[in-house]
Symmetry: C2
Subunit: 393 residues, 2 copies
């Protein structure tokens, strides 16, 4: 009997089998609906900018799709996070708990508030924040004083908790909500990657005080660049709109602004694209699920690696399909990344953990054994919805 | 002989004569070129987001048009100002001199750096910063210590000077450059409104260390939302690109970021619109100049009001045509605003002066007699390029 193929070659073979020939991006957008028609309507009516019906419609459609009471469209997911944290009351000098395993925007938005990220470990079961481990950490370092959570070690207020649904896979949200309540932390879900992902039928991003979305070009749906804040509180929704539109007082001609605010408006042109994309989201989600099934069949029985499947009780949007190497195969990660990318199959590892970036090296953190292990073992593989469409290879 | 018509009625008559019938906006964009073709190309190729040829082309075209060494496209003019000030070295607790008579973004961007705006007076001749009056003020309150300008009253470093070319009319830039040099202030021109405006043939926004542009829907050309940073320094241009694109290190698959940075990217979709708009800018500028001539003929001889004309040696883009009431007619401003808007002719006053907004009430400022006078006397009138096209009324 011949020696089995090296793991990298086995993975290349499965990916190629599922994706078909050619150069395969990690995640390509698809514009097969009303994109051009809606964008043309913006151009024909000259409503391309901050005012226009597509912004209102996109917000209404997002609220309807996610079940959030309100959606406020903004210029991108980073702006959504920044505004949400300000609205959560994050002050300069506060701490905000974010996962170490996240895209840099989550931690940057904390820094943009003048606050300090405090890094939390991940769960092997969800790839997102581990509420049990975080609870144990808080019990050790924090206490409630005058109704706020204080980090006894640093003396700073821990104001908010911002978990992230990594690659679209929902975290253990029930325990996280409970943890936030116990420790008086404002819960803001970074749902940038999880549009279409639910827990017990309820959409991610709607469990906390606010949730944030991203419509960057690499996300499940795109507006070119864009984002949104979700909230169930109508008063907060109004404040979010005001904060992200320069806090201008409504007046026929006068320019008066209530406080230092932001120009985080999503242009109508981009919202038009978003409306067209949102119409196709159910199709994209079905295709991404089908792609997951194809990969599952392909990776079934392969030793050394597993395909990540949505946690029980959750529905993942499968934004990025995720391979997890066995611990003893972590050393092969870069070989696999090189082999796949060399073969025209775009793959990538998890983000460098936040506490290893120079900007965040000295920030407070709990022990991060799971995040550190996952960082060495995660590989995201080609995940475009089109790969799961009935016509695809 | 009949009594002359009230000033408001005279102004309505001239505006109506120039604009023709119907509801007339203050400034409408026009998409009569390759807008749809370029946007369609984005959709067809799926390059709508942060990567794409239109971003590169828009930057190159902007540099070519303005004569700036480099242009860095960003998500809007506010982001351009914020990034430029950070690159100018503005630190939390610094002061930055900005005109009291400006759109709130100029002052907000200072606050976004954690710095404090210091408000300067305007010139009746340019409507922008008065370098002579500011020089006298600095001589009184500031001194150079260890190569930096210190406000003796507040003890804070005055790091930068951010004049603004109001309504597109260039300021006295030569004296302002000299003043910045004398007082060791980094000069950043807020050229949000002055694309196409020049002084001695050189484009506004290219005299300082950096200049910033806006392509909001109400500007001379629009990208829906967008902005740019201009600079002649290639090293600074590189830093501007890095700072506005999350400071990600180039790598085939790794995610490492050099410092806390921003997602201020202009999507390719918006840049596509910008490329098409820029092709038509010479036409728009010619039309806006023709509109100025029409208004000039209309307002010639009217007592109580004058039409603002570009300062000597300058070419204004005439972004917003500007009426200036005589001092003794300032009390009629709101009557005129009401009469014109009631007649479907959109007009507006100058912005509320920055030091009268609650956020900036306690900020340092010099005496502001001219800005205060102009605030009571300025009325911007319908200014769309189309109104000056040969086919227009
Ligand atoms: C987890 C996470 N948070 C925030 C963001 C920021 O979104 P954007 O790129 O739209 O600013 C992203 C996506 O880029 C993300 O993946
Ligand atoms: C003087 C001035 N500065 C800055 C800006 C900000 O630009 P933006 O609206 O694109 O953020 C504007 C335009 O809105 C402006 O008029």
């Amino acid at each position: 009997m011949n020696a089995p193929l090296p793991l990298a070659a086995q993975i290349v073979a499965v990916l190629r089998d599922v994706t078909g020939p050619g150069s395969v991006p990690l995640h390509a957008p698809r514009f097969s609906g009303n994109e051009l028609a809606y964008v043309q309507e913006c151009i024909d009516t000259t409503f391309v900018s901050s005012v226009g019906k597509f912004v209102d419609r996109f917000e209404a459609d997002l609220a309807a799709f996610t079940g959030a009471g309100h959606a406020i469209a903004v210029v991108n997911g980073t702006a959504a996070l920044h505004a949400a944290m300000l609205l959560a009351g994050v002050q300069p000098g506060d701490e905000v708990i974010v996962p170490a395993l996240t895209f840099v925007a989550t931690a940057n938005a904390v820094a943009h508030c003048g606050a300090v990220p405090h890094f939390a470990d991940s769960s092997e079961a969800t790839l997102g924040l581990d509420p049990v481990a975080l609870g144990a950490h808080l019990a050790e370092i924090a206490e409630i004083r005058d109704d706020v959570c204080v980090n006894r070690t640093t003396g700073r207020v821990i104001r908010a908790l911002v978990p992230m649904h990594a690659f679209g896979h929902p975290i253990d949200i029930a325990a996280t909500v409970e943890l936030a309540r116990t420790w008086h932390l404002v819960l803001v879900e970074d749902a940038a990657e999880s549009l279409g992902s639910t827990v017990g039928g309820r959409h991610t991003g709607t469990f906390g005080r606010m949730g944030t979305l991203s419509f960057n070009g690499n996300k499940t749906i795109t507006t070119g660049g864009g984002g949104a804040i979700l909230t169930n509180d109508p008063e907060l929704a109004k404040r979010a709109k005001h904060l992200t539109t320069t806090a201008k007082q409504p007046h026929r001609w006068e320019f008066r602004h209530d406080y230092v605010a932001y120009n985080y408006r999503l242009p109508n042109l981009n919202a038009a694209l978003g409306c067209a994309q949102l119409e196709q989201l159910p199709t994209f989600l079905a295709e991404k699920r089908r792609l997951f099934e194809k990969y599952r069949a392909g990776f079934e029985g392969m030793t050394g690696v597993r395909l990540f499947a949505e946690p029980a009780g959750c529905r993942s949007n499968y934004w990025l399909q995720t391979l997890i190497l066995d611990d003893d195969r972590a050393g092969e990660r870069d070989t696999i990344l090189a082999a796949t990318n060399d073969a025209g199959l775009m793959t990538r590892p998890a983000w460098t953990l936040m506490h290893r970036l120079p900007a965040f090296e000295t920030c407070p953190r709990m022990a991060l054994p799971v995040a550190q292990s996952l960082e060495r073992r995660i590989i995201n593989i080609p995940s475009s919805a089109i790969l799961g469409s009935s016509g695809a290879a």
